[in-house]
Symmetry: C4
Subunit: 360 residues, 4 copies
C-alpha cells in the first residue's frame, strides 16, 4: 500500500535492512526506556487549535545563522548511512538540498565530508534552489590536532556550522559494521579503547575514561573556529548555562535518540526548562522521536527553533534512496503546514505554548 507517513517507511525498512543493521539503527540502550519516552512524551502533548484564522500569508520558512530554511526541520547527524543505501550520505544531502532542508553530517559518516559538500554543490543549481544548510557534527578526538584537522576540513569544504556532540563520548555498541562501511573521515586517526582484561579496570581508569572531552575542550574549540558552534546533547538547564558561557552559539536538546544512557527523560520534556534559561539569546534545536508534523509544532510551541530528524531519514534512505529521503521530508513538511493551518498558525512565531494542553 501507499506510503503516507514516516511510519510507513519505518515499516518497510524493517523488512529491507539486515537484522543486525536494523537493531543497530533502531534500538535504544538498556531496556529502551528512553526510546519509549521520546515517543510517549509527544503523544501526551495535546494541541488546542484556534479557529477561522487568516492563512493568506502563511509560511514555514526560517532563518538560522543567516541562512534560509524551507522549514524548521533538519536532518540529524546519523553515522554510517551506507548501511542503509550504497549512496549513503550522498543520497541524503541530495534529498535535503532538493527539499530546502538542512543536513548535519556525522563525524562517523561513511562518505567523506568533502564528497558530501561536493554533492550538495552539484545538486543545488539543477534544482533552482539556494543550497540547503550543511553542518558538520564533530566528535572530539583523543588528540586535539586530530580534532582540529576535522574542523579545518569542514571549514574548507564550506560547512556552515559545527555541531559538537557531547553526550556520547562513552557509548557501547555491539554492532560490527558491514564490509565496506567505515568512518572514512577518521582514517588515520587513533581511537582510544576499553581495557577488558579480567579483574583489570572496567571503564574508570582506562584510557577511554581518561580522555573524554571536558568543558575546557569546548572553550578551546570555540577559540579555533569562526563557524557557528552548536552543542548537541544538552539536557540539564545548568549545562545550557555553562554551554552559553563557554561560547556556544546554539544548543541541541537531545538524548541521542535514547542510545546512550537509559532512563533519560524525553528530550522534548527537557526543552521548556532550557528554553526558559536561553530565552532569545540563541537557537535551540531538539531531536528524539519527531515523526509527525504535529510533533514539530509541539517542539516549537515548547521553545524550539527547529527540530532534527534522526532514524526516519535512514528508513526512507533504505527504502528508496534519494527519492525516499526527499519524500519523507516532503511528507513531514506537508504535515507541518496542515497542522499549522488547522491550529490557526500562520508563521512559526504563532506557534506559542498556549496551543498546548495535556492529554489524558
Amino acid at each position: 500500500p501507499g506510503i503516507r507517513a514516516l511510519a510507513d517507511y519505518e515499516r518497510l525498512a524493517a523488512d529491507l535492512m539486515p537484522p543486525a543493521s536494523w537493531t543497530y539503527l533502531q534500538d535504544g540502550t538498556g531496556d529502551g526506556l528512553t526510546v519509549a519516552q521520546n515517543r510517549i512524551a509527544f503523544d501526551r502533548i495535546g494541541l488546542l487549535p484556534r479557529i477561522l484564522p487568516d492563512l493568506r500569508n502563511a509560511t514555514t520558512q526560517l532563518d538560522l545563522f543567516g541562512q534560509r530554511h524551507a522549514a524548521p526541520i533538519l536532518l540529524a547527524p546519523v553515522a554510517y548511512q551506507r548501511i542503509a543505501h550504497p549512496d549513503g550520505e550522498l543520497a541524503t544531502i541530495r534529498a535535503a538540498t532538493a527539499m530546502g532542508c538542512g543536513m548535519i553530517l556525522s563525524t562517523l559518516a561513511s562518505v567523506t565530508l568533502e564528497e558530501t559538500a561536493a554533492a550538495r554543490a552539484a545538486a543545488a543549481p539543477g534544482l533552482g534552489a539556494p543550497p540547503a544548510a550543511l553542518w558538520f557534527q564533530l566528535y572530539m578526538q583523543e588528540g586535539r590536532a586530530d580534532t582540529l584537522t576535522l574542523v579545518r576540513r569542514a571549514e574548507a569544504a564550506g560547512y556552515e556550522a559545527v555541531v559538537l556532540t557531547v553526550d556520547a563520548s562513552i557509548k557501547r555498541t555491539a554492532f560490527a559494521l558491514p564490509p565496506g562501511v567505515e568512518a572514512v573521515n577518521l582514517r588515520g586517526i587513533a581511537r582510544p579503547a576499553h581495557t577488558s582484561q579480567v579483574l583489570g579496570p572496567i571503564l574508570f581508569g582506562t584510557p577511554l575514561a581518561q580522555t573524554t572531552p571536558r568543558w575546557e575542550d569546548l572553550s578551546w574549540l570555540r577559540g579555533e573556529t569562526r563557524l557557528p558552534l552548536l552543542v548537541k546533547g544538552v539536557m540539564a538547564p545548568d549545562d545550557a548555562r555553562l554551554a552559553i558561557e563557554h561560547g556556544a552559539d546554539g544548543l541541541i536538546v537531545s538524548n541521542h535518540g535514547g542510545r546512550v544512557l537509559d532512563g533519560m527523560p524525553a528530550a522534548i520534556d527537557c526543552l521548556a526548562a532550557i528554553a526558559a534559561i536561553v530565552g532569545e539569546r540563541m537557537p535551540i534545536l531538539v531531536d528524539g522521536g519527531i515523526r509527525r508534523g504535529t510533533d514539530v509544532v509541539k517542539a516549537l510551541a515548547l521553545g524550539a527553533t527547529a527540530v532534527l530528524l534522526g532514524r526516519p531519514q535512514v528508513h526512507a534512505l533504505a527504502v528508496a534512496g534519494v527519492a525516499g529521503v526527499a519524500h519523507a521530508l516532503l511528507m513531514l513538511r506537508s504535515e507541518l503546514e496542515l497542522a499549522m493551518a488547522q491550529l490557526g498558525c500562520t508563521t512559526l512565531a504563532d506557534i506559542t505554548p498556549d496551543r498546548l494542553t495535556p492529554l489524558r
Copy 2:
C-alpha cells in the same frame, strides 16, 4: 446475538461495510490519538449517584431554540450517508423524526437538503409526533454567492438552524467515494484544490489556504440569515468568546470526531472551560465519543445543553437502515433515562457537576 448497545451496531457494521468505507468512517487522522482521547476521556469520568430520589415527574425533554426535543441527543452532521445504506440521509431523518430527536444535515450529504426536509415532513404526521428539529450544517464555499445559495435553500426548505463547521476547512482524505455517492448539494459549485506540483507550494500559498473562512466571514453570514446560527468546532475558550462576539447563537464543542488535527484533546475535556465562559447565554452542544447514556449525563454535568451522535448513526444505518437508527436512538435515550434514575436526577437540570468524580 442481541443488539443491546451502540457498540453492537459498530461490531456488526464492521463486517457489513466495504473496508475502504469502514476505514473512512472510523479512522481518525494521524495516529488516532484524538479518536482515542474522545473515548478515554469519558471512561475516566466517574458518576456519583444520590439515592432514594423521587422520580415521579422525571423527563429527558429539552427545549432548544423554541423547539421541543424528546432527549438532549441530536444526530451530528455526517457526510455521504449513502455509503452505508442506499436510502442514506432519508433513512436517518425518518428515524430521527420517529424518535423525536433532531438531525443536522451535512453540506456533504448524499441526498439533497430539499429531499431530506420533505422526508421529515412526510414522516411526521404518521407518527403523531411533532416533527423533530432539522438543522443544516454549512461548509463555507470558496465564493460567498455559493455559500449564500446553500443557506437560502436551507431556509426555503424549512431548516430551523444553521451550523457552521469551522474546524475542517483543510482536511485530508484518501477516500474515493463509491459510484453513485456524491455531494449532491454542491453540484455546480467550484471547489478549491491542493497544488501538488513537486517542489511547488504544499499547502501554504495554494488556493486552498488562501480561501479558508475567517472570522469576518462569520460576521457576514450572521448578517445574511435570521436562522439561529451555531458554530461547530470550537475548542478554545477564547474562540468561544470570539464566536459569541461575532454573532453565534450556539456553540458545538467538537474535534470533528478526531478526523482533523491529531493531538487535539477530547471535546468533552474542553467543555467545562467553554461552559464557564458562555454561562447561560446560549446552548452548548458537544460531540465526539458519545456512545452511552452515561456519556450524555457526563456531558450535561460538564455544561452541555445536548450532545451530538456521529459515527453510531452510520453503524446503525448500515446494519438496519431506518429501523437501526431509530433503535440506536431508543437505546441511547433508554440508557440516559436509566442513568438519570440511578443517579437520582429527575430532569436535565438536576445533572450538575457534583455528580461527577474522577475515576482511577
Copy 3:
C-alpha cells in the same frame, strides 16, 4: 492444582457454571468500568508495615450491634444462590456459621428466609460456636404492606438486622433464571414492570419509575421495626448524612458490585469521605472487589468497620458447596491475620490510615 486464594475458586467456577449464569454472576453493567474500578482501586492502595510488633494478644474479633464476629468479614446479600449449587443459601449459612462470619440474606434468595434461619440454628450447636450473625437484605416492594410482611417475617425468624438496599431500585438484567430457581420470598407479591410499547414511555413515566423508594420510605421503615437498620448503596457523603437523619443505624458503602450504574467509582474510593462524616456514630461497611486479606486491611484503614464479600462466596459455593464457602472464608481470614501480623497490627483498631501509602 491447589486452591490457595479466592481467585482459584473463581477460576474453577468459571468452568463449572453454565455460561449464562456465569455472565449474570460476574458481569458489571455497561462497559464494566465500575467492576474494573473496584479492583484497580484496591491494587493501587499500598501498605506500609511496622516492624517487630508484639503479636501475643492479636485478634481479628469484632463486635457489631452487640454480636460477636470472628472477623470483620460478612457475606454480602447475593440473590438466587441455587444457581450455583442446589443447596443455595442453605449451604452458605452453614459455612458462615461454621466460620463465625455473618451472612446477609437477599430478598431475592432462592431459599426462604425461614429455612435459612432454621439452617443456622441447626448448624450452630454442632459447631460449639455461638450462631453467627444473620441479617435480612430488604428490597422495598411496590406496596408498603408487602414490604412490611417481609420485615415481620425476618423479625419472626430471628434475623438480627435489616439491610435496606437503595441502589438497585431500577436495574436491568437480561438473565433468565434457570428452572426451579426463583425469588421464593416474594411469592404472591406483585412486581412493577417496564412498559415497552414502541414510542411509549421508556422508563420515565412507567409504573416502575413512579414507585421507586424515596427518603420518606426510609423514615417509614425506621418507624416499623426495632431491628438495627442499615442502608446499603450509599456512595455520596451527603447521602450518608441524610441516611443518618432518616434513622439508619449503619451504612454500607457499595456500588452493588458494579452491577447498576456504570461509571461509579470504586466503593473503596468513596469510603474515606463517608467515614469522615459518620465518624464513630455508627458502623460503616463496604463491599466491591474484596478478594484478599490485604483488601480487608485497606478497607479498615480507610474507615470501614467490616467488609462484605459478594461474588467469591458464589464461586466457592459452585465449586464445593458448604465446604467451599467455609474454606473461602477461612482463607480470607487467614490472609487477614497474616497481613495484620506482617503490618504489625494486633487488633482491628491498630489498622489506621498511616499504614496506607499510594502505589505507582
Copy 4:
C-alpha cells in the same frame, strides 16, 4: 546468543531450573503487586545527565564499616542456594570475592556458615585481592540461646557484620525443598509451627505468632555482639528512628523482594523518607528490583549507601555457577561505571538527587 545483561541470566535460568524451584525463586506473595512495584518504580525514575565531566579520577569504590568494597553492590541474603547449583553459597562467595563485592549469607543457607567463610579465605589470596566483606543474615530463633549460638558461630568464623531480618518472621511458602537441600545452619534448632486444626486458631494465638521477634529482642541482640548490626526490612520512617534508638548500625530498606506482604510499595520508593531521617548517621542499603547499573545510580541518588542484589545472583548461579555470579557482578559494575560516566559523576558522592527527574 550473548549474555549482555542480568536479564539474560534470568531468561536462561527460567529454562534450566525445575518449575517448582523457579516459582519459589521468582514469585512474590499474593498477586505480585509488590514484585511489580519494585521494577515499575525504578523504571519511572529518570536520569538527568551533566555533560563534559572530568572523569580522570573516577571510581566506584566504597568504604563500609571500615572495609573496602569495589562497588556499592552486595549480594543479598538468599536462602538455599544449592537449589540453583550444587556448590550453592560456596560458588557465590567465591564469585563475590573475585569481584571485590560483599556477600550476606542467609541463616537459611544450604551450606554452613563456617564452610562459606572458609571458601572466602581460600579464594582471596589466589586473586591477589583483599577478601570481600562477608556478613551474616540472622533470623531470630524461638529460643534466645539458639539465636546466640548462630551469632557466636558467625563471629568465630570471621563474619564482619550481622544483618537482622525483621520483615519475614511470618511468611508463607508452599515450596518443598528438593532432596539434599536444607537449612544446615539450623540443624538441631527447634522451629515453631502453624496450628492448622480446623476451627482452631489460624495464626493469631498459635505458637508462631506468640514468639515473633519484638523491639526488645533487638536491644538484647545489640548487647550481645560487637559486630556492626544492620536491620533488614525497614520501610517506615518511624521504624528507622526506632531501629536507631535500639542500636542499629545500619538499615536495609527492603520489602524482601515482594515475598512477604503484598501491597507494600517499592523499597526504592520508601528510601528517600528514611534517608531524610537517618541523614549521615549510618549507612542505608536498599534492595528489591535492582537489575541495572542505572538502578544502582538511582538508589544512591535517593540516599542509599549501597544496594543488594537478590534473585539475579541465583539466576547467574543456576546458569554458570561461580563464573556466572562473577560475570553478573562484573556486568552490573560495568553498567554502573558507564552510567556514572554518562551522568557525569566521578565518585559515588557525585550521585546526588538533582540527577533524578520523573519519567512519564
